[in-house]
Symmetry: C2
Subunit: 222 residues, 2 copies
DNA sequence: ACCTTGTTTTGAACACGTTCGAAACAAGCG
DNA sequence: CGCTTGTTTCGAACGTGTTCAAAACAAGGT
């Protein structure tokens, strides 16, 4: 492991990342070999493994990039005030940003699904990316016209992130041209979530919501 | 591919499956090599590949086995009449049945998450297993005291299957001893679903449910 | 200058999943 | 019995991700 990172080492490292991203983009994840990445970066195979524990770790760079792009692309959507509109815009912008990678998104996804992998969106290693994404949904809630019980308001961003993960899951399996079906899903689900959340102020639904919150908390500790 | 299956060939085939399952059970999926499976079955490496297109295909046998065990283990739970009780029992019995495989369940899961893989629960190849599982949830609904709009009643089993998939996802990531957290989730979520579904008869909620159904249908065609 | 210590680089080597051409086997037919 | 056709078995060989011991390099300290 590189403890004291010299300037030159950092250059080598970023060179490997750049090479990997270029090749992933061109030919997909599985088809891109570590040897090809090393060649493209102008280093030996062993050097690639000196900087990265394995092929998987190179995906993280990809994730980080998409997350940043998503945050930027979602910005315009956050000028609306209606919660449903905001949510729809934020979810849609992800589909836009991720579109170029849809072809081999599944190859990434396979690794992400492994719970033992640091690439899993639930892993500790993904915490920064996860929190950045959750922050985006927190802004979606807080800048909106939505009126809510404070307890639910606090949990909502994380629940929306979960919804986002669900959309991504759908997206990965979506073979329709230009991911039309995912867009249909987002356009339909956003207003539904809006209306559902507003319903939680009804007395009949209130008790249900409270129990959901209790369950969420007991799961978090467990 | 074996077109005309002779009796001896069928024996070789099942021998390979048995060997694979035994080794998976003992050492997990990743650690079990195709060479070891072939050895254990007393055939050559090439023979294993003559019968199975790859290591992945051997997982399907595992899935089928669990599905059958689940259906059997869920039977007692279906003697209850309250929908919430029935649902809880069915979901819980899966956790019981799958418990021995929790250790390497994630290794299977990784392959299942690949949308291009036939092992994906959404793939055409998985249709039989998926429908068998959905049938279980249809029974859960139909034998219960649940009163519902016919339209929703028709869609509910598939939605419950989706919930089941969600529970499995949670289960895979659950590192608590004896999967306590997953059991907490199931025990908590079953009554919540029960109450939520019953709420759909309220006039205020009715319109929401109708829109959900419309969305589901438009997604199915797309 | 030389040694020491730590970092970076290298390519050979390993084990694995998978492919493939060729051999062995079985069955029907003349 | 030979011959043909189709099935089954085999193991060598390929390309892959990954590991590792050794070399090259850099920077001080003496």
């Amino acid at each position: 492991m590189p403890d004291k990172r010299t300037a030159k080492a950092e250059l080598t490292r970023s060179g490997i990342v750049t090479a990997a991203l270029r090749l992933f983009r061109a030919g997909g994840y599985d088809a891109t070999t570590m040897r090809a990445i090393a060649d493209e970066a102008g280093v030996s195979l062993g050097s690639a493994y000196y900087y990265f524990s394995g092929k998987e770790e190179l995906i993280q760079a990809f994730y980080d990039q998409i997350q940043v792009e998503h945050a930027a692309a979602a910005e315009p959507a956050l000028s609306a005030t209606a919660f449903g509109e905001r949510l729809r815009g934020v979810l849609e912008s992800y589909v836009d940003v991720a579109a170029p990678y849809h072809g081999f998104g599944g190859q990434f996804f396979r690794n992400a699904a492994d719970p033992t992998s640091p690439l899993s969106p639930f892993s500790v290693e993904s915490t920064p990316a996860r929190e950045a994404s959750t922050a985006l949904f927190r802004r979606t809630v807080e800048g909106s016209d939505l009126k809510l019980a404070p307890a639910l308001r606090e949990e909502l961003p994380e629940l929306l992130w979960l919804l986002h993960m669900g959309v991504v899951l759908f997206w990965v399996h979506d073979r329709s041209p230009d991911q039309r079906r995912t867009r249909t899903l987002v356009a339909g689900v956003a207003p539904l979530v809006d209306r559902t959340v507003r319903l939680t102020r009804l007395p009949v639904v209130r008790g249900l919501v409270d129990d959901v919150l209790v369950l969420l908390r007991s799961l978090r500790e467990g």
